[in-house]
Every structure is written in structure tokens, then in C-alpha cells.
Symmetry: C2
Subunit: 323 residues, 2 copies
């Protein structure tokens, strides 16, 4: 009979996958009561945590374990990007059934480690337990120079609204995954973005350093829902140019626009720039498209203008507490 | 029909319960992409996260929501105590069914807020989602002066072993809860300790400031299992005096000793002190008993000595990955 893995063995597997920390700022190994981290002088700590739950955020039979590992960290890092922060380390809370402590756990940890290396965020510690379903909660610790964080509440009437990359591709990828038989694999850009999103860390940091954005957040629940949050925090409204949205070429134009307005899981940055600063913003930042999609208004409504006229933009994004 | 709570309303309820932060070191409200935290000069950050899951760590029909709120934070803070750290702020990852977003959530948040105030750890941020069962993951950020953290790996042969408080009462309390009909309430010290544990923060900080302990951890999975971890990290063994254990007076002596050796969920501190420093250790620290329970040995075995002789101490604590 196969020997059951106990908690210490799971931790051992995690430790072997990630290796001991080489940086002096994380002086302890994974096994102590808590992790120690040395903050930098003149920096604020950016803290965020993010659920990634089987059945809610991923489907075990459809999503490769490697992609689950990559994405659970990548999406948490998107919140650090949205504050103009630089990620430093993360904690992994992992619950899983004993039957997944072999190959599935190996592949999950491989994807997580690849994200950790590619996105520059080291494993500092965590907690593991047994559970019938896979539950993941990731906490990220980042840093940002004091006073340089970009929050949601700074947008002012007249500011112009921008978004990075394209919108709607990750949601399109999810639809394709749902239609596939068996475990998904990457066959186009939509599937790549859905399975292996890349948080816009460099763009966020650059906007913070240059003090270019008055307000910023990441598009995680869909533009229509997230823009409403940014506007509520800033006590403003917005007018979106429906013809200016950076649509995916992988869908027909009508579907592509709906995906761009309401698709979640995008992890692009949505940010406002004052009119004075717009000329300092390039059309592309290190290859990543930056698209002007509308403007901030005094009137606290969110409108979208298309050929057909102007209409209120009703939030249609994803909200786990809504049916 | 009752209106369904959406995620924003849950966050609003959390924010109303905790109020906006009054401290300048937590400059943001709960609703932004991430929380900002200002670390202190000369301090290391202590990071820990802790699962608290329905069915695994608490029973919804048996444990009052108020106690769930208190305990999920208190036990996470115990890891900060075990590093000689001072808690600063925490993140709450909460998943729950829509049916619990009313009274249950109110009571949960009340217990959590009482723990937050009593134990000096402010809510900084978090993530919420919907789920059929209650899932909680708490991340705590603490601080400790550089070089003053007490880790598990510093125990040396000849050091004496101490434990705070009594051992076994929390486990006894759990057994009583299991036997009760309906929701548990406090009728004795064992139930109080099981439902509303108090992490030994002041003791941990004092031991760190005075540099009194060579190694320390908290007793969360039972002395037999946790001592084995401390000894493994320090590459030593230990000999426990079975007659010296601080037993609960609420159980018969045989049962009380087994509870003291193997009972989990205690959140007392287990620490080693060099023989030179033992005279500096009081018998009580601010009313909390400190009991010498044995010593660290060169030989890497863990033995327990009683009237009946000396025998290996087999780990019998709680491990979620063991059947």
C-alpha cells in the first residue's frame, strides 16, 4: 500500500521544489513557526491575499495543475502591480486531498515555481492541510516607495482613461476551456492568457515612478464592474468610447466588444491620466499596448458610447456573491 | 425575496465592523487592490498564515460564530508569539455561503474584532468569495527587532525545556464540545481555552527581548509532535519528565497526562533555556505559570520518564495528512 503523505512530507516537497532562500532578506527556511522578512528603508509594504479555489476559480479536470500553480500567484501579483508595487515574497496556504499529493502536487509546484521565478516573488512560508477539494490562498508581500502607491481614489473629472493590452481574451479562453474535452492546452492567445496570465508589474511600477496615473486598478472582475469601483472610490463617473476598446481579434466584433466590457480574469491595468500628462504616455510600453478608452466625468454615471448612441454601462462582470 | 449579498456588501460589512484604520501606518481603507503598511526601522517583518476550515478546524453547528472569529486570529497570532514577535496587522481571506452573510457573519466579525482589539492586531485587508462551506485563511504581519526572533533550531544539549500554562485543556474542551448538544458555551476553563485561546504574545516578546530562550515554538499539534519538530530543527533530542507536566485538574491523572503529551490546539509556548540563564526565569510570568518539563539531550531521541520507567515519546498529536 502506498504510504500516506503527512503534513511534514508535503512541506518537504514544497521546500525541495523551491530550495532554500538565497536572499539574506528571507533568513529562515520554510519550516519555522513564521517567516522573517527584512523590509527596505523608505518603502511601504504592499499586502494582498487572493483565493484560488477548485470549482470556483479553476476546474480540476480542465485546468492543468501547472497552470493552477502559475495562475494562483500571477493573479495575486496583479494586485501588487495595480498599486505600482514590486513583489518581494509570498505565503502559500494550500489544502488538498491526499490523492493529489503525488503528480498533481509536483506539477502544481512546478507551475508555481516558474511564476515565482519569472515574476520575481520568492516563497517565504505557508500552511498546509488536508481537504477533499483543492483550496489555495496566496498572500503577497510587495514594496513601494513611500508616497508612490497608486490607489483607486485619485481620479478627477477630465482625466483620460487607459487600459493595457487587449480586453476579453482571458474570458474567451475560459469559454474555450469549458468546451474542450479533458485537460486544456494552449492553442491560441486566448487560452494562453486564461491559463498563464502575466500581471503588468513593470507597467505599474513605471506609472508609479513617473507619477503618471491619478488612479489605477487591475481588471479582474470585468471592465464594467471594476471601472464602477474605481469611479466610486474617486467619487466620479466615466464615459467609455465603445469603438476604442482594444478588442480581441479571436472573436467576432459584437462578441468581442461584450467580452471587452464584461470579461473577467484579464489582469490588465486600468488607469486614469491627467490631460497634462497624456503626452508623456507612450502608445506602447515595452511592447504592451496602452489604449485610451474614455474619460473621467464629474457626473457620477458610467456611460458607454457606440455608433448606436450613449447608454449606461451596466456592470456585468463576475461576482461570486451574485447569482 | 431576500436580496442576495454581493461581494461588495460583504466587504462593506467587514469595513463597518472594523472601522477605518486610525493608525497612520495603515494608510488605506479595506477596499483598494492591496493594503499598505509602514514597517518600522530596525525591525524584521514576521509573516505567517493559518487555515481555519469548517469541518477540519471547527464545526459550524457546535462552535459559536463568535468563537470562530476569535480563534482564527488568536491561533495565527500564536505563531507570531512563538517567534518573539509583536503582531501589527492581518489579512482575512473569507469564503462563506450566502445563507451565512447575515447573523453568522455579524457574530463572526464581532469575535474577530474582539480578538483584533484584545491582541493588538489590526485588520489591513483581505479577499472574500462565496463557497458552500466556511473557509478562512488568516495572514498575520508582525515585527521583531532584527536578530531577536527566536527560531526552532537554536536548542543545545543541556538546555532545559519549559512550557507555559497547562497542557491538555484545549483538547479536553474539544472533547466536551463534541459531546454537547447544539452550540457550545463556556462552562469551565477547558471550554474557555478551546473556544477562546490566548496566544502567549507577552511571554514570547519578553523571552526575545531578554534573549532567554535558545529555541521556541508554540504547541499547536500536541507536545509530542511539536517537540519532535523543535528537536529535529535543532538536531538534538529531549528527555521529558512525565511527572513534571502541568496537567489540567479537570481530568483524571492518567487521562490528564495523555492530554498533556498529545493534546493539540494549546497555543502554549514550548522553549529551551540554557542552564546559565535558568535562574533569570521566574516561576510565573505575569500570572502565567512556566514549568520546567525536561531537558535537551545530545542523543537524538525523545524520551519520557515516569514512575514506570523511561520510554520513547511517540508523536500522537494531530496531523491533517495522517489517517
Amino acid at each position: 500500500m502506498r504510504k500516506k503523505k503527512n503534513e511534514e512530507e508535503i512541506v518537504g516537497k514544497i521546500e525541495r521544489t523551491f530550495g532554500s532562500s538565497k536572499v539574506k532578506r528571507l533568513p529562515l527556511t520554510f519550516g519555522d513557526d513564521a517567516a522573517l522578512w527584512r523590509p527596505s528603508a523608505g518603502e511601504e509594504t504592499v499586502l494582498t491575499c487572493d483565493w484560488f479555489l477548485e470549482g470556483t476559480h479553476f476546474l480540476r479536470g480542465k485546468h492543468p495543475a501547472d497552470a493552477v500553480g502559475w495562475k494562483c500567484l500571477a493573479r495575486a501579483l496583479s494586485d501588487i502591480a495595480a498599486m505600482a508595487g514590486t513583489p518581494r515574497c509570498f505565503l502559500l496556504s494550500l489544502a488538498l486531498p491526499e490523492s493529489l499529493t503525488g503528480k498533481w502536487l509536483d506539477e502544481f509546484l512546478r507551475g508555481l515555481r516558474r511564476a515565482s521565478e519569472a515574476l520575481g516573488c520568492e516563497l517565504a512560508g505557508g500552511d498546509t492541510t488536508r481537504r477533499d477539494e483543492v483550496l489555495i490562498s496566496i498572500t503577497v508581500v510587495g514594496e513601494v516607495r513611500v508616497g508612490r502607491a497608486i490607489v483607486r481614489s485619485g481620479a478627477r473629472a477630465g482625466d483620460l482613461l487607459f487600459v493595457s493590452g487587449t480586453l476579453g481574451e482571458a474570458d474567451l479562453g475560459l469559454r474555450q476551456v469549458r468546451r474542450m474535452r479533458g485537460v486544456a492546452r494552449i492553442t491560441n492567445a486566448a487560452l494562453r492568457k486564461h491559463l498563464y496570465p502575466r500581471p503588468r508589474l513593470e507597467l505599474g511600477q513605471w506609472l508609479g515612478e513617473k507619477r503618471l496615473a491619478t488612479a489605477m486598478m487591475d481588471v479582474s472582475d470585468g471592465l464594467s464592474m471594476d471601472l464602477a469601483r474605481l469611479c466610486a472610490a474617486s467619487e466620479v463617473g466615466a464615459r467609455i468610447d465603445g469603438d476604442a476598446l482594444p478588442l480581441t481579434p479571436l472573436a467576432k466584433s459584437g462578441e468581442a466588444r461584450a467580452l471587452a466590457l464584461h470579461g473577467g480574469d484579464e489582469y490588465e491595468l486600468l488607469f486614469a491620466v491627467s490631460r497634462d500628462n497624456v503626452r508623456r504616455l507612450p502608445r506602447r510600453f515595452r511592447g504592451l499596448r496602452l489604449t485610451r478608452i474614455g474619460e473621467i466625468t464629474r457626473e457620477r454615471k458610467i456611460l458607454v458610447t457606440t455608433d448606436g448612441g450613449t447608454a449606461p454601462l451596466v456592470a456585468g462582470g463576475w461576482d461570486p456573491f451574485r447569482d
